[in-house]
């Protein structure tokens, strides 16, 4: 009895060597990267700063947090949300034609490849760089943030759209054609129902991500809560930092929760 089991076990392919090699390679790369750790640069008062930050977080500036004027945390959060919302919408609309142009089952392969490459470039350039470029165009303010968010969303959304488009069920279209539907009818009743729920779910997910990005875009002056946050940090006003961060964390958690609920409902019906 035991012997047959042992025999079967021995028949299994021996994967020890490849595993060992991969482990060694990962280890070598990891050891190579340890030089990123430089502890000699630690500022002497680092620990007191860390303590101050924590104190600020637990004793936030409640006056700022519940301030209802345009300088208060609540208004800044609203502005951040508006930037992310408008950016997502604009990006979501622009991304649709681009996604169809880069889907290899819709357009010829060369076209799809070129558009896809363009989208990779758009996606790789960090948000902050776009922000800094758009500031030269439209000046500081939330409008710049909207433009930046739109451009980033185009890159990310079209990639996710393409995955959905390439999995389109074409047999529905064939059967519709056989009963004599026109092209418009085919798009309306054959393609739209397949795409709309998934596209909406993707857009909501992206809004969730854009909200986080919009929160840091303020660092370059593109509106939203980032600018006051950085100013407060650079001036070591930790209670202020604490109140802004608490507002941001609560907002992101709420949006994430709602977006998860809505997406679950959209995808699972």
């Amino acid at each position: 009895m035991m012997n047959t089991i042992d025999q079967q076990l021995q028949k299994a392919t021996n994967r020890r060597l490849p595993k060992f090699i991969i482990t060694v390679i990962v280890l070598i790369i990891f050891l190579w990267s340890t030089s990123a750790v430089q502890l000699d640069n630690i500022t002497e008062n680092g620990f007191s700063i860390a303590k101050n930050i924590l104190m600020g977080l637990v004793q936030p500036d409640t006056g700022l947090l519940f301030n209802l004027t345009t300088g208060g945390v609540l208004y800044l959060l609203l502005e951040t949300m508006a930037i992310a919302f408008l950016g997502t919408i604009v990006g979501a609309v622009i991304a649709i034609p681009l996604a169809f142009l880069s889907a290899s089952n819709i357009v010829p392969k060369p076209v799809a490849f070129v558009v896809r490459f363009l989208l990779i470039i758009i996606r790789t350039i960090p948000a902050i760089v776009y922000g800094l470029m758009f500031i030269r165009v439209t000046g500081q303010g939330p409008f710049t943030g909207v433009l930046t968010m739109s451009l980033i969303s185009v890159g990310m959304l079209s990639k996710l759209y393409v995955d959905v488009i390439e999995e389109l069920d074409t047999s529905v279209l064939e059967s519709m054609e056989s009963i004599g539907c026109t092209t418009m009818e085919k798009i309306r009743y054959g393609i739209l129902p397949q795409l709309s729920a998934l596209f909406t779910s993707i857009v909501i997910y992206r809004f969730d991500m854009n909200l986080r990005d919009a929160a840091i875009l303020g660092i370059v002056g593109a509106g939203g809560i980032g600018a006051p946050l950085i100013f407060a940090m650079n001036a070591y006003r930790w209670p202020e930092v604490g109140s802004i961060l608490i507002g941001l964390i609560v907002l992101i958690l709420i949006v994430e929760y709602v977006s998860n609920k809505v997406r679950n409902k959209l995808v699972n019906g």
Binding site: T34, S35, V37, L132, G145, V220
Partner: protein, 271 residues
């Protein structure tokens, strides 16, 4: 509540049966959308005219980027390598530390009521903190340089992988785990032999994906002084030396593309 506001339409069929048709929510959703867009436009001073008038500036900048200054390339290798090192070290260490934390957060491994809840709460707060903000705080503590960036990436990786991993663990098949527990193995031993093999492919794949994203993040961390290529990017943008910016972006695009392709290849193999 919504069904009370908009009662479903009842249709009586010729054979006497009553069919209830739910009201479509589409018109209300669209209306709410338009209102939200209008409010957002008001708040953000959205102005298409200004954009149309000034958008050529954007293309001027793009035109300045080509051709990039090739002579600038030798100076870029070192910060680029530093950026990769930063994200690599942060990702690997973060992924390793995320494993025990995910064990603590998984409510099917950890039977206590409080520890999983508290760990999950800490993880979600860590995840919501923007990486750039963490990096800035880290520069106050660890000084300017790659160390601050590494810490920021490390923390983000723990939060990201930790969350996905504990969800995996909670959805894992518990049969073998319970059997091993019943045989007298400790929690850690049975986790190692029953749950860990189940989540391992996904864990590695998530870690690779996270590393991929971290390279992108690491490239901007220099903006707050946390080391890497972002520092030079910020400098060149500040001097409006767009040809240099073009060179940096070109190298970044190439690096990210190579890493993405590699990681995608290995992730496909893992699945």
């Amino acid at each position: 509540m919504l069904t009370k506001l908009f009662p479903p339409k009842t249709i009586e069929l010729p054979n006497g049966k009553v069919v209830i048709q739910k009201r479509s929510m589409t018109p209300i959703t669209i209306l709410a959308f338009i209102v939200l867009i209008y409010i957002s436009v008001q708040i953000t001073d959205f102005d298409l005219q200004r954009l149309a008038k000034r958008i050529n500036q954007f293309f001027f900048i793009l035109k300045d980027m080509v051709p990039p200054t090739w002579e600038y390339m030798p100076k870029l290798w070192e910060p680029l390598v530093a950026t990769i090192k930063m994200s690599l070290f942060g990702s690997v260490l973060g992924a390793i530390v995320a494993l025990p934390i995910a064990m603590l957060a998984a409510s099917n491994i950890n039977r206590s009521r409080w520890i999983p809840a508290v760990t999950k709460f800490i993880l979600s707060i860590l995840r919501t903190l923007p990486t750039l903000v963490v990096a800035l705080i880290a520069t106050f503590i660890f000084g300017l340089g790659t160390m601050a960036g590494t810490v920021a990436i490390f923390l983000f990786t723990i939060a990201y992988i930790g969350k996905l991993l504990y969800e995996q663990i909670e959805n894992a098949n518990m049969g073998a785990y319970e059997a091993m527990n019943a045989m007298g193995l400790t929690t850690i031993q049975s986790f190692r032999y029953a749950i860990f093999p189940q989540v391992l492919p996904n864990y590695l794949s998530t870690s690779l994906f996270c590393f991929e994203g971290n390279v992108r993040y690491a490239s901007i961390l220099g903006y707050v002084g946390a080391g890497g290529i972002g520092l030079l990017l910020n400098e060149s943008l500040g001097w409006r030396n767009y040809a240099n910016v073009g060179m940096i972006l070109l190298m970044l695009v190439c690096t990210v593309f190579v890493i993405e392709t590699l990681s995608e290849y290995f992730r496909k193999k893992l699945m």
